[in-house]
C-alpha cells in the first residue's frame, strides 16, 4: 500500500575529491543510479559535523549517505577516517533517538569508481525502502535559513 509507493529521500554528502567526481563520471558513463539521492558536495567527509546529520533527519530525510575517499586515499590525509568514526558515533546517537541506525551509512570510493558508487546508492535506497519512511518525515519542519551555531 503506502510502502509500495514509498520513494525514499536520501541525502548524500559526497566528497569533492572522490564521490562527487564519481557521481559526475557515472553521468558521463551513462550509469544509472536511483533518483532518490540528493547530493551535497563537501570539501571532505572529515568536514561533516554531527549537526549536519541530525538536522537532515530532523528535516525528514529517510536516509543519509556519506561518500568519502578510499581509506588511505583522502586528499586531506585522514579526513575520511575521522568521518568514519564520527558516522559510527552518530549511528549510535540516531539509535538513541529512536531511529534505525541503518538510515545512516558511509561508503568509500575513488573518483574513478562510478559503478561501485551507483551500486552503493542502489543498496542504500533498497535498505531505506525496506525500513520504510522515516517517522520524522510527517510534520517535518521545512528547511529555512537560520542561525544554528
Amino acid at each position: 500500500m503506502e510502502s509500495a509507493a514509498f520513494e525514499p529521500k536520501i541525502l548524500a554528502f559526497c566528497c569533492h575529491y572522490c564521490a562527487y567526481s564519481s557521481a559526475d563520471l557515472a553521468g558521463s558513463m551513462r550509469i544509472q543510479y536511483p533518483p532518490n539521492i540528493r547530493i551535497i558536495r563537501t570539501p571532505c567527509t572529515g568536514r561533516l559535523e554531527t549537526e549536519y546529520f541530525l538536522k537532515a533527519f530532523e528535516r525528514g530525510a529517510d536516509g543519509v549517505l556519506v561518500a568519502g575517499c578510499l581509506e588511505g586515499g583522502c586528499h586531506f590525509i585522514e579526513g575520511n577516517l575521522c568521518a568514519k568514526r564520527r558516522v559510527q558515533y552518530i549511528r549510535d546517537m540516531v539509535a538513541e533517538i529512536g531511529l534505525e541506525k541503518e538510515r545512516l551509512c558511509m561508503v568509500n570510493v575513488s573518483a574513478a569508481m562510478a559503478r561501485p558508487l551507483a551500486e552503493a546508492i542502489r543498496e542504500m535506497v533498497e535498505t531505506v525502502r525496506k525500513l520504510g519512511p522515516s517517522r520524522l518525515r510527517q510534520n517535518a519542519t521545512p528547511m529555512k535559513m537560520e542561525k544554528t551555531r
Binding site: 549537526e51 533527519f57 546517537m93 538513541e96 533517538i97 529512536g98 517517522r135 520524522l136
Partner: protein, 222 residues
Amino acid sequence: MIVAERKTVPELMEIVKGHQKILVLGCGTCVTVCLAGGEREVSIIASALRMASRLANRALEVEELTIERQCDNVFIEQAAEAVGRNDAVVSLGCGAGVQAIAERYPQKPVYAGLNTAFLGILEERGVWAEKCAACGDCVLHEYGGICPITRCAKRMLNGPCGGSREDRCEVRADLPCAWQLIYKRLKDIGQLDRLRKVAPPKRWGAALHGGLRKIVREDHRI
C-alpha cells in the same frame, strides 16, 4: 578544566518528562572545550530531543541558547528572558553551572544535561584524562608534579605499593603506575631524595568529606 560528558537521549527524555517547552542552555567555558556542552553540543542535544519527542508523540518545544559562563551571575543574566519563556532548563554546564542557574532562577526547574566527570586535560584529540581530585591540600611539589591522589589507584603518599607490573598499575592494567612516573620524574629533575622523606597522613579535612568548601578572600570583598 572541568570535563563532562553528555547524558544519553533516553535519559534526557526521562528528565524532561512532563514539560512542553524547554531551554537547552550551553556554557562557553570548560564544557565547550571538552566538547560536551558548548554551542555546537546544544544544537546537537536540542535536535536529538526534538526528534526523540516527535518519535514518542510527545509535544516538546526546544529552545537553544549558549552563554559565556554558567557559573557567573553576570553571564547568567543574559539567559533571563529565555529561561522565562520556557517551562524548564536543561543545563549543559558542569555541576557548578547547573546549580548556579538553579539558584538564580529559583522558580524554574533546572536539570543537568551532562555528567560532570573530573578536572582534567586534553591528553590527545578526543581523549581527556583526570589530573586533579581537588583535594584541597596540594602535594604536587613533593611528587615531581605528578599527583599520587589522582593518578595512583590506591592514593598512596608513600609508594610504590609493590604491585605494579612492567610500569603498569596492578589495579588497572591500562594505567601507568603513578609511582613509576613519580620516580622517573624526580630522577630526571634530580630530586630523588624527596622520596627518602616519609609523608605524614594527608590533611583530608580540606577535601570534600566535610561538606562543601568555600574560599573567602577578604582582600577582594566589598
